[in-house]
Symmetry: C2
Subunit: 137 residues, 2 copies
């Protein structure tokens, strides 16, 4: 069971959202393989010392996003293929929004465009490296 992390009770981010964030990252970085089963809601709940329902809520949201899949009575798994949840128009709209968010933050922080570009490329390389590393193992 490769999903291990802990929560920050001090953080003002809700528990279920912290869980979502961790799972997202684990899948994207390849620590959770495609098709791999996630811990049962009660198991992860006990490990995190929260109510099973809170974990279920996190799972549910990720299922709606298409990142996870639920086989009722069996368990929750990382989706094999990213199923098409959003229309193409919606996808583009979301990408635009995300980019706009980044640009506004960058402008607010007074970062020039090259810095943004550089950070983007750098993080992308890091992600790719992590993924290929995982595959080699």
């Amino acid at each position: 069971m490769s999903l291990v992390f802990s929560l920050s009770p001090a953080s003002d981010i809700p528990i279920y959202r912290q869980i979502i964030q961790h799972i997202r990252r684990n899948v994207i970085q390849g620590q959770l393989q495609l098709g791999e089963q996630l811990p049962a809601v009660r198991v992860l709940a006990e490990s995190l010392v929260v109510n099973p329902n809170t974990v279920a809520r996190a799972y549910g949201e990720l299922i709606r996003d298409g990142l996870l899949e639920s086989r009722s009575g069996v368990g929750v798994f990382v989706a094999e293929e990213m199923r098409q949840v959003f229309s193409n128009a919606e996808r583009k709209r979301r990408l635009d929004h995300a980019v706009e968010q980044l640009l506004h933050e960058a402008l607010l922080l007074d970062f020039p465009l090259p810095d943004v570009r550089a950070t983007l490329e750098e993080q992308w390389k890091t992600l790719q490296a992590q993924l290929t590393n995982r595959r080699k193992k």
Copy 2:
């Protein structure tokens, strides 16, 4: 008074946050000049049919971010120079986080990197165009 907009009551985004968003955009796009005075809290509040306190809250947050400045008893103005609100480490941390957000969203939506790059460059060009247009007038 070049700050004119309306709210979306249907939206689940809180009013004060919508106001923040609009002001940010207006400043970034140059519709609000640096140093320009914003509408008094009561004036904007009446125009938006909300409580003055709600507007004040939006102003307050933008002041804490360094985008606006308040001269007590006089009014609220767009900051002349972006004062250094965050340490350099904090600035970098925030930029990293914003970029990570974008990349995760892009991966979730199954967009390849070139698409992200293209959208970034395109939006940047749009912003620049708006700014230079404003200056010419």
